[in-house]
């Protein structure tokens, strides 16, 4: 009984989610006049950044793994 997804599965999932969130966040930006959509866009942007940073962290871990691998 173990979690069925590997680290790289999670990384891929984070990448796709980050792209969706970043694109949505950009399209809903008040700079394009979208001031009537009833969600907290600041929070959406924060989530998008957080997921993107998580994904980039997995990439950094992969790079470090490649560098220090014997």
């Amino acid at each position: 009984m173990s979690f069925p997804l590997s680290f790289w599965d999670i990384s891929l999932w984070l990448a796709i989610t980050a792209v969706i969130l970043l694109v949505t966040s950009e399209l809903l930006s008040p700079y394009y006049g979208k001031t009537e959509i009833r969600i907290s866009k600041k929070r959406l942007r924060n989530v998008a950044f957080a997921v993107s940073i998580l994904f980039l962290t997995t990439i950094v871990m992969r790079i470090i793994g490649v560098i220090i691998a014997p």
Binding site: P4, P30, Y31, T35, S40
Partner: protein, 350 residues
Amino acid sequence: MKFTFGRKAFQSILLIGVAAGVISFMFLGLLDRLVHKDLYSYGLQFSYEWANRYWTYMRLAVVCIGVFVAANCAALFYLYRARTRYYPIETRPKPKPKLGLPKFVSLTLFCAGVVALTVSILFSSSILAFIGLGLTFWGAVLLYIKAEKYIGKALLDSAVFPSLVTLNQVIAELGFKGEAVYLPPKYLRDFESSKVFIAKRERTELPTPKQIQEQEERMYIAHPEGILLTPPGADLTKLFEKTLDTSFTKVDLQYLERDMPRLLVEELEIAENVEIEAKKNIVYAKIVNSIYKNMHAKAETLPKIGISLGCPICSALACAIAKATGKPVIIERYQTSEDGQTLTIEYRLL
């Protein structure tokens, strides 16, 4: 470039510190387990010579991390207390919030995701794990980004405009002909409040701070003759300060030029674009597609409000400029574009 650090950012860093400390405890535990279990199977021989030093270092590390976590928690607590001292939490019991449709959908997604994740672990199914991860994540995101309470634009105009009309009538009928001067904090006993002074006659010299402070509680002041009003944008200025988590009395004009556009567009979503530029003793502001745009056009029809006092957003900017510069401010020019989308305001510092 001046780098400022907000209270929330500081709290976030402290929280990250606490989380890192707690995770360090976990890793120390794993390290201890590695030494006491795994390394013996690779031929490690126990000796008090190395074990004593190992235990000492390990205990010191635990104590240091403990002190670090405790110090971070204490700093977080004091920051929270400093916040609640200025913005006290309401003691009145709040009514139980209703479970609306968006919240219900979000919670359903979240719960379904947790169930799918649990089942995926039980049956080792990667497809169910992906589904569970997605549902849990999006359920949590939808809960987090749920809308704050919004009101319609029409309601905003209808609620605010009559009070502007009344103010205009009062000023006009009492025959106050001077320009509306937004007073800086040095003129007021309460530095955080905002007041506007309108003289009875044109070209009247502005009273001294002492004269205003002596008569601050009154609406009509005698020496020199004039009227002391709370401007239409006074509370909006307080909202700006609360959102920026600062007081405009502590900032300068460069701060307003840099941070006000972001506040009005990104944080409060009051306008599509805002530009503020200061040149000597004139401050130019350009507001594009503001939620008050209907009000701007209507306010222009009110002679005393339109040019002198300004609509709520122009008034709020005037209050902010007066507080930041410490100088009295008047609205020199107030103009809306032909399509009504762009409002240009010119403030003059006295």
